[in-house]
């Protein structure tokens, strides 16, 4: 019932069918009897959007019903999250959201919705932020960067995609660990951050991997450190993560599927089985690795514990800002 490892479509579909019939739940017997809608609260084309589309690309192998991905954007992501939280908790309306679920309340008060309004179905991928610099700076390792930052306190500019993002927190972690002070510049997105870095307008940039992967491989940018263990198959070089560099934080940007909090347990279990099947399929793991995210699968309680731990380390770091 648990593992569907075959990539052959027919076998996988059969396995999924078997998994469904053995799950034993009464409501869940014929669970997806209509299309499942997944709300993505952020603009199409972004990392989470690409990941969920990649995950559900071969959904036909696992369920007989289509999976629809709807971008409900606006309100800095709150609109879509709120809409998903208000959906009927029957397992047909889900939400895909990343660490923003835990970082948003850290910086915004009085939000109408929070992670408390949801139950995680599973965490399905993990990425990280990575610190990149131009080769012209002459830095080869994180130590070089830190030395430069010590030499010119408060002067080195480090671009981050957004304030209060995990990328921003990752820079805070570096500042805190090595007791340096850099000038953090928010750029309003991963693309402008990379543009500013490649245009030599900032000294270093902390975009979310895999942004800039191709530039690193081409020698246009130098990799210094990653906020967590990254699995980038196309990366040519040694990957050094925060723990390896002596930074006592492990900042992963995870993406998870969520259901409204009143969704019944058997439906949750069924959803976890369906999406667990997709998240452990070769199609997805191959795609994820080539895309540049780490495929993982932490269902239900495991996800809750994982997300809780991640939220705690992020809120600890957030307290260090300013």
């Amino acid at each position: 019932m648990k593992f569907i490892t075959s990539s052959i479509a027919g076998v996988a579909a059969l396995a999924a069918a078997v998994a469904v019939s053995f799950s034993g739940a009464s409501i869940a017997q014929d669970f997806p009897s209509k299309p499942i809608q997944i709300i993505n609260a952020f603009a199409p084309g972004g990392a989470t959007d690409t990941a969920i589309r990649g995950l559900t690309k071969m959904s036909d192998n696992f369920i007989n019903q289509p999976i629809v991905i709807d971008s409900v954007t606006g309100g800095g992501g709150v609109t879509g999250i709120l809409q998903a939280s208000r959906a009927k908790p029957d397992g047909y309306t889900l939400l895909v959201a990343d660490t923003v679920m835990t970082t948003l309340p850290l910086f915004q008060e009085n939000l109408p919705v929070s992670a408390e309004d949801f139950r995680p179905i599973g965490v399905f991928n993990l990425r990280g932020a990575w610190l990149l610099a131009r080769p012209s700076k002459g830095w080869e390792t994180l130590a070089d960067f830190v030395a430069a930052a010590k030499e010119r306190p408060g002067e080195l500019t480090v671009g981050v995609p957004a304030l209060s993002s995990p990328q921003h927190l990752a820079v805070i972690a570096i500042e805190d660990t090595f007791d340096v002070d850099v000038n953090i510049i928010p750029y309003g997105g991963g693309a402008p951050t990379m543009a500013a870095l490649l245009g030599d307008q900032i000294d270093a940039g902390m975009p979310g991997a895999p942004a800039g992967l191709d530039s690193v491989n081409a020698g246009e940018a130098v990799f210094l450190v990653a906020s967590t263990e990254l699995e980038l198959v196309k990366f040519k070089g040694d990957m050094i993560s925060f723990p390896e560099a002596g930074i006592p934080h492990d900042l992963g940007i995870w993406a998870a599927l969520w259901a409204p909090k009143d969704t019944p347990d058997d439906v949750m279990a069924e959803l976890a089985t369906i999406f667990g099947g997709m998240a452990q399929s070769d199609d997805w793991t191959n795609f994820a690795r080539s895309y540049g995210v780490t495929p993982i699968w932490k269902p239900l309680d495991e996800a809750e514990a994982y997300i809780g731990a991640s939220a705690k380390s992020m809120s600890d770091l957030a307290k260090l800002i300013k």
Binding site: P35, V68, K322
Partner: protein
């Protein structure tokens, strides 16, 4: 003409009021953030400029009116502003109210053809002529939209 004068002054006052409101709303964020320019600076800059321009415009307007001698000259100062046709206001109000209604119905039944038809039937009663053709266009456009959104988007998914 007195209407036009009042109208112009009212509009400029409204603009001044917006500027003042922006200033009041941004007073709490003037110290926000550690950057060189505070969060409230730009809205205030824009609002301040707008307010000054409104006052300038008001002064020029009054000055022009005062220097004008004949009534014809005075009328010209309004420079195309005096074409307010109150006679047709009901159409605008009706359309706006109907659109609000439409949005509320839309929340209940997205893209439902029934909603379109309903809305346009009400439209008709407000006297946008000619009736028959409007009815045809309504049915056609609602049908078109329904097909476009519900079926095509549905199939694509």
């Amino acid at each position: 003409m007195r209407h036009a004068l009042i109208q112009e002054l009212l509009v400029l006052t409204a603009i001044l009021a917006i500027s003042v409101l922006v200033f009041l709303q941004t007073s709490s964020i003037m110290d926000a953030g550690g950057s060189q320019v505070a969060s409230g600076t730009f809205p205030r800059l824009a609002a301040g400029t707008m307010g000054v321009l409104a006052i300038l415009r008001m002064l020029m307007f009054v000055a022009k009116l005062r220097t004008a001698k004949s009534p014809a000259e005075k009328a010209r100062t309004f420079d195309g502003m005096y074409d307010w046709n109150w006679g047709n206001m009901h159409r605008i109000v009706a359309a706006t109210v109907l659109m609000v209604l439409y949005i509320f119905l839309f929340r209940l039944v997205p893209f439902a053809p029934l909603t379109f038809t309903f809305i346009f039937l009400v439209f008709l009663s407000f006297g946008v002529r000619p009736w028959k053709r409007l009815l045809i266009s309504t049915v056609l456009s609602s049908g078109f939209l329904t097909i476009l959104f519900v079926y095509i988007v549905g199939i694509v998914r």
